[in-house]
Symmetry: C2
Subunit: 403 residues, 2 copies
């Protein structure tokens, strides 16, 4: 650890050094917060820029304890730290935020579903499944397709399989991992409600957004969710704040929701800065990254107010091996108002390597611009700007769920 | 230098590790730009956060050359690098931005005044002075007070003396440094025009701001300058762009101006991110820090557009030795929309240790809130919120210059 001088602000350690840690690292200095990351190696996204990177293995309690020394709070850019490590930190008196009791519900999807059920939170139908008989039994109530999910370890569509036939389910069962089955929800739209909660119990809710996924990966986030009735938006915010309080979350909680048949169903939970909140860097008065830091340090929250009537974020996925830097010049020249965020990652096909944000009043124009920029960076063409728009949200007259 | 992986973006080295380098460091990762600082020691503001800090002496050409190895461009957070070091870099083929030929005019105020005169740029009357006879001779034309300025090395009001009598001038002459005399301009307002220029020759101009100084230190920046007639604002932007082009500036150029008798007079030049542009972090679509990085890398410029009708930035000066962190909690609780930027510096009285920004539509409200926040952080009270407002800008019917 380097010798430090100046004003010694509080020190937050983030386990993991991906893009979430990178963007949190960019936010921390403004409030005088010192920031440390635990990286697997120095090439990781946040390790490239952080002035206080420690290299270690998040699966090793001893590495976590060494990392936490001197930290006023320890938090996470992923949910993969094993329970033993979290317990070791808590037993050593480290302020682990969120704590292991809350994080458990992001690590064990079956425990999460049971807890949501106990709380009376609307969710898709689900059941643990061990073999094909369990899946076919479940399908009697839910119909096909059946969604199989890894109980732990999934992310970005990995660990989620939409099975249209018993044969497909049998293949997934053959992977030999713990699974749960969920009904396949024919949704009107996917939404995300992002909230933060502090140890003091203060809560704050961002405007509810619509997310647009393709091939299991979030491609676009529209903030606020266009056409979402105000009462449903408020319901989603209230639901997320309630879940945060009931689970004792400290920090951010992203609640991914299905809007189906005019009802909200909880899909997934994440307790960290979330892809559905990247738009807040420029689009909200306080970014999700600063908000998470405020939360884990028990500082008062910043305003989640929008800075523009409409904000569109588009993820940048790795494409071919073209020269990203040259493409960046073209994109910045073509659209001086587009905001680009690169994560310092090599462009493997389909990998999230950055995002772009457009802010203004005209949703169609913002989508065109953000999709064009992301597409050009990916492929050297603007082809993706012509994809069809996301489904419009309207209160459906009748449930549209699985037949 | 740490081993690096991921996408190897361009590398910018900034000589100096104060708050300007700190805020540039926060901006760099978004465009995938790698960022290195040359610090005197690891306690400096930017050295605390930068993942690639080198410790060295900017007065030593050998240190500069070692620092520049691998950099795609080298730039500066202050104007104190000696000419010999700049020449050494340029002779070694380093992209020094701005170059020594331009930087000279920020290091030698007499050379700057002569160059402005050659260009026909309106300036206060000036003359080099070596002794009291020179000063009294100058005062025959300019009247008293006479402003004496150090030809080099001044900043933040240091190196500037307003002399009301020959006795005061004699005292300053006794310091034994090279001086120039300038007329004391009875200005209506002080303005700043911030522009950027790229090697390609592209230019961009931010909205012109009003700056409010007290005791020689910039205390408030009002963006855009309230009440400034549009033609004068355009004149100021055009003047700054013309100076940037004529001097061959690469990067940002801040032109500090007096508005006096309805005319614009150039006061000072700075070729780096500038205190009068800190409001752009939240208040402009592209911050001055990102714009400077784009300029020195010859990337297309980002939009300088305002993100709110009015933006107020107030500098935070060191006050008493109260607990800044506790005060920060109170300020954030009192005003969830205020934006705070701390520089990681110990609070020596009068030292700039941060700034706060308020954005909205009502100038008086924004000033109240920003002054209250800065005052509370400094003193633990909001006393400074009741200071009188800055003078209103109106096209004066007649010159108000020195009697």
């Amino acid at each position: 650890v380097a010798e430090r001088g100046g004003w010694d602000g509080p020190l937050v350690g983030m386990v993991g050094a991906g893009q979430l840690a990178r963007m949190t690292c960019q936010a921390a200095p403004s409030l005088g917060i010192r920031f440390r990351v635990l990286a697997a190696d120095l090439t990781e996204s946040a390790a490239q820029i952080c002035g206080d990177t420690q290299v270690g293995d998040y699966r090793e309690p001893a590495h976590l304890l060494a990392f936490a020394a001197g930290c006023d709070a320890v938090t996470f850019d992923h949910e993969h730290v094993p329970a033993a490590g979290l317990r070791a930190l808590e037993e050593a008196g480290v302020a682990v935020r969120p704590g292991s009791a809350a994080l458990r519900f992001t690590q064990d999807k079956l425990a999460m579903r049971h807890r949501m059920q106990e709380l009376g939170v609307p969710c898709p139908r689900f059941a643990p499944v061990a073999d094909l008989a369990d899946v076919t039994g479940f399908s009697v109530r839910s119909g096909w397709p059946v969604v199989l999910k890894a109980v732990s370890g999934g992310y970005d569509g990995k660990g989620v399989w939409v099975c249209r036939t018993p044969e497909q389910a049998a293949e997934v069962l053959g992977y030999g991992i713990a699974l749960l089955a969920e009904e396949h929800v024919a949704f009107t739209a996917e939404l995300a409600a992002l909230v933060a909660r502090s140890p003091y119990g203060q809560g704050v809710a961002y405007p509810v957004v619509q997310t647009v996924q393709r091939e299991g990966i979030c491609r676009e986030v529209l903030a606020p969710a266009p056409g979402l009735p105000a009462d449903l938006a408020e319901d989603a915010q209230a639901l997320a704040l309630r879940i945060a309080a009931e689970l004792g979350v400290i920090g951010l909680l992203a609640v991914e929701l299905f809007l189906a048949g005019g009802r909200l169903l909880v899909n997934e939970l994440a307790m960290r800065p979330h892809n559905s909140g990247h738009w807040t860097i420029e689009g909200a008065r306080t970014s999700q990254f600063e908000q998470h830091l405020r939360a884990v340090l028990d500082m008062p929250f910043g305003s989640p107010e929008l800075t523009a009537p409409q904000v569109v974020m588009v993820n940048l996925l790795g494409g071919d091996d073209g020269d990203l830097y040259e493409r960046l010049h073209h994109v910045l020249a073509a659209d001086p108002s587009i905001r680009v965020h690169l994560y310092g990652k090599r462009a493997k096909p389909g990998r999230k390597i950055g995002h772009v944000t457009a802010l203004g009043a005209d949703l169609a124009d913002l989508r065109d611009r953000a999709l064009a920029a992301a597409s050009y960076l990916r492929w050297g063409t603007t082809q993706e700007a012509s994809v069809p728009g996301p489904p419009l949200i309207n209160r459906s007259p009748a449930p549209q769920e699985v037949a």
